[in-house]
């Protein structure tokens, strides 16, 4: 293998973004085919990014919301 695991883990984000040069991308694919540890690492990085999509968001304080709706009504209606 031309790429070791220590290098692989540092290139995961570039790989997921499709931002690696073709040869470097092929090295990653070749490494993945042979290394279950890095395959798992890649999958966990993907899971981490996906979990972030599901984070609950705070809501705007109720009085701020009603102030904004009132402002919209008076400015735009």
């Amino acid at each position: 293998m031309s790429l070791d695991c220590r290098d692989f883990v540092e290139q995961v984000t570039l790989f997921l973004d499709g931002a690696l040069a073709p040869e470097a991308e092929q090295d990653m694919i070749d490494h993945l085919a042979l290394c279950d540890g890095c395959e798992r690492y890649l999958d966990q990085m993907r899971q981490t990014a996906r979990a972030l999509e599901d984070l609950p968001a705070d809501a705007l304080p109720g009085d701020t919301r009603s102030t904004l709706i009132d402002t919209f009504r008076s400015r735009r209606a």
Binding site: R6, T13, L52, L60, R65, L68, F72, A77
Partner: protein
Amino acid sequence: MLHYADSMAGLPADDVLVARLRSGDEDAFALLLDGWSGGMLRLARSFVSTEASAAEVVQETWLAVIEGIDGYEGRSSLKTWVYRILTNTAKRRGIREHKVVPMSSVDDSGPTVDPSRFRPAGDPFAGHWWQFPPSWPTPEQGLMSSEVRAYLAEALAGLPERQRLVVVLRDVEGRPYDEVCELLGITAANQRVLLHRARAFLRGKLEEYYLEEGS
């Protein structure tokens, strides 16, 4: 590209929304307000020092949207336009509060995975895992539990600011990478370094969490 959260929220297309806002359609405004304010608060929170201050940034942004919607030219998506106003407002306030986030240099360097997890030089398998990363439980229906998500939200708050801004915009808010470069005034290479470090840190936190849970 429509972000998944927006398609889920069932927001109309930009041109429809903008026309409705311009004609004073209160329901359309409320729809946007409720759909986007949560994400905007989280982003604002990365620039300023308190929750109250973040809420004011979001309020100021919406006021600017109300006043400025006639001037929106549709050269970017409506959400990009709103996020640009938010980012500029938050940056100004962050500076006032002396909480300046320098975005120009990459000072984050060094490995993102503890080097002791790999075999050392001289070993026939130098640079390879001593032990594979421990596996994680398969989440039900592909969703992590609310406890895991709360833990992740807390871990997010522990990130250095520049990394947090990038990962919040890219992964939490799903903004495209060129927009993130523009909003934060950073290069694509810089953004990827910051995003990578943030994700690697958060992956490590999840690993800690699952190890603890499994023990």
